[in-house]
């Protein structure tokens, strides 16, 4: 009986909020009508996006209430309202979600008051169910009806608040456009970095080397000892140029990936890290199918960077790497048992910035491939980095 009462109370709270919202709907519909009318005579155009935002907030509130009742999130797919007033008005009008929200609000104005039915159900329920449970030792029947009411409210809300398929597509296009822009930006930033490395490093060294050989040729007859010294220096320069070139090459595409594939390369990383690393592969094998090169490289750099960080800062002695082949991608998970507290650069991926080192560089690489990057590192540890890279393979 207590459980039935508690459940009914929870449902009543849910229904009360719904009724409250329904009451507000009247207000909103009125405000919207006014706004639309005023917009038609241009004066109130500025108000329209604001009103749409308010409606979105109200729909959002309902979504979160329903989600907490059913335990399932209801997705959103709004077009962003930004830019000049003109653009915002256009986006507000063009967004199919605006109309979906409006439909919900009108419907909700009606079904929201469903909750009021709970009021008479309470006294009846307490008496009937009290008798059934107390005297007949049977299950409650009336009070659970209140829960059914809340279920009904939730079910209708889910149907009405779900973004229309068109809006989901539109949102996907927006996301893809954004990630493609950042992919292109990341790519050109990478090209700039390589160009600069080659220009400032290797090229400069080769010039210096060539110069030394020229000087040595001049000194050859006159001062063989000086010529010898210059040639020695030239050889040093040549070696440094080669070292730098190797470094640049590693940064573009680690040669071991070409040689051994991701599985072999990650094993090599684990072996050469200062930590005791356990490596697990799910659905990946040494000579199995290979992910696209860009995905392999990104996964490799995620593991490399995470292990380097763990070895340098976490104080951990052990780490765990797990690579999982997913139906539509690759998941990389690196965890250590260190002291945690790793702060990722939380700013949204700044596509204009150049640089590819550290966690920020990793985030950028992952974002450029439309992947996700999740870092959990509470103070006291453990630190876990989980990256998912979408790809077909």
């Amino acid at each position: 009986m207590t459980a039935a009462i508690r459940q009914a109370a929870r449902a009543s709270a849910q229904l009360a909020v719904a009724a409250g919202l329904a009451f507000f709907s009247i207000l909103f519909i009125t405000v919207l009508l006014i706004t639309v009318v005023v917009t038609l005579v241009v004066v109130g155009a500025g108000l329209l996006p604001e009103t749409v935002l308010l409606i979105r907030r109200m729909a959002g509130f309902k979504r979160s209430r329903v989600a907490s009742w059913t335990g399932h999130e209801i997705p959103e797919a709004y077009l962003p309202l930004r830019g000049t007033i003109r653009e915002r008005v256009r986006a507000a009008v063009r967004d199919t979600c605006t109309y979906a929200d409006l439909r919900w609000m009108i419907a909700h104005y009606l079904y929201g008051f469903l909750g009021l039915l709970a009021v008479p159900l309470w006294p009846v329920g307490l008496v009937v169910d009290g008798a059934r449970c107390g005297l007949l030792r049977r299950d409650a029947v009336v009070l659970p009806l209140i829960s059914r009411l809340a279920d009904l409210d939730a079910a209708w809300s889910v149907t009405l608040l779900k973004p229309p398929p068109k809006a989901l597509l539109a949102e996907r296009v927006t996301v893809l456009t954004e990630t493609r822009t950042s992919a292109i930006a990341a790519h050109s930033a990478e090209l700039r970095r390589i160009e600069r490395d080659l220009h400032d490093g290797t090229q400069a060294r080769l010039v210096a080397l060539s110069m030394r050989i020229g000087l040595a040729k001049r000194a050859y007859e006159r001062d063989p000892q000086a010529a010898q010294k210059l040639l020695d220096e030239a050889q040093d320069q040549a070696e440094e140029a080669l070292t730098e070139l190797r470094h640049v090459v590693r940064g573009i595409h680690p040669p071991i990936l070409t040689d051994r594939g991701l599985v072999g390369a990650v094993r090599a990383l684990a072996a050469s890290s200062g930590l005791d690393v356990t490596v697990e592969f799910e659905g990946l094998a040494d000579d199995g199918p290979r992910a696209p090169a860009a995905v392999e490289a990104a996964a490799y750099f995620v593991v490399a960077e995470a292990l380097t960080n763990s070895a340098k800062h976490s104080g951990a002695t052990r780490a765990e790497v797990r690579l999982t082949r997913l139906a539509n991608g690759l998941r990389v998970r690196v965890g250590d048992e260190g002291r945690g507290g790793v702060v990722a650069a939380e700013q949204s991926v700044d596509v204009g910035a150049v640089g590819g080192s550290g966690l920020l560089g990793i985030r950028r690489r992952v974002a450029a491939l439309d992947g996700t990057f999740v870092l959990t590192s509470p103070v006291g540890g453990p630190t876990v980095i989980e990256v998912e890279l979408p790809c077909v393979w």
Partner: protein
């Protein structure tokens, strides 16, 4: 010495042949692709093989695999593996199981002709030649181990030992007497709690095993 080489890049192949012949060695065969390597080795049974890691047709690690395969058929065939870049795990594969007569060097090292020929000689005689870059990576990866207690000089000595050099060369490189080299080596072994080993290949293996497993 009788040498078989495997190198796909024509420039480097000709350069290597020129260098080896001018140093008085005999180049019996020069493989240009992976399928040619093993037959050439089996046919000529050279004193030492010099193999490039990345070879046609796959341009992956054919040379390394060929080296490992060749040593299965011709046990203790001295092999010097050259590469455009060094990878610690490759070194571990080559040296696995206490193999003798193995070298693993960056291609850049060829330019230091005398050192390169010295390394080749060492490998042919059953010794080791490990690229300084591999050794640096091995030594830098652990913190909080007995390695920290080594003095700078002892570190240098350990480094050169791990590359596979003998006391005389270490003494020459560091410009110190052979006696003090022996003293430093004694200290290194003491600090790393390794059993004292006579000079030579077993010592290198002991040091590498320590660096690999610490």
């Amino acid at each position: 010495m009788r040498v078989v080489i495997a190198e796909d890049n024509a420039l480097l192949r000709e350069g290597l042949i020129l260098l080896l012949t001018s140093a008085g060695h005999e180049v019996l065969a020069a493989a240009r692709a992976e399928p040619e390597i093993l037959p050439a080795l089996l046919e000529h049974r050279p004193d030492v093989a010099v193999l490039d890691v990345r070879m046609p047709p796959g341009f992956r690690d054919e040379g390394l695999r060929a080296a490992l395969a060749a040593r299965k058929q011709i046990p203790d065939l001295p092999v010097l593996v050259l590469s455009q870049y060094v990878e610690q795990s490759y070194a571990a594969e080559l040296l696995g199981g206490g193999a003798t007569g193995v070298g693993y060097l960056l291609k850049d090292r060829i330019a230091r002709v005398d050192e390169f020929l010295d390394a080749l000689q060492r490998v042919a005689a059953g010794g080791t030649a490990l690229d300084p870059e591999v050794v640096t990576e091995l030594m830098s990866r652990r913190r909080g181990t007995p390695l920290d207690s080594l003095t700078a000089r002892e570190n240098e000595v350990l480094h050169l030992m791990a590359e596979g050099r003998d006391n005389t060369t270490i003494a020459e490189t560091l410009v110190i007497t052979e006696r003090s080299v022996s003293k430093h080596i004694g200290n290194v072994f003491l600090k790393l709690s390794l059993p004292p080993t006579d000079s030579g290949h077993r010592r290198v293996l002991a040091v590498l095993a320590y660096l690999n497993n610490s």
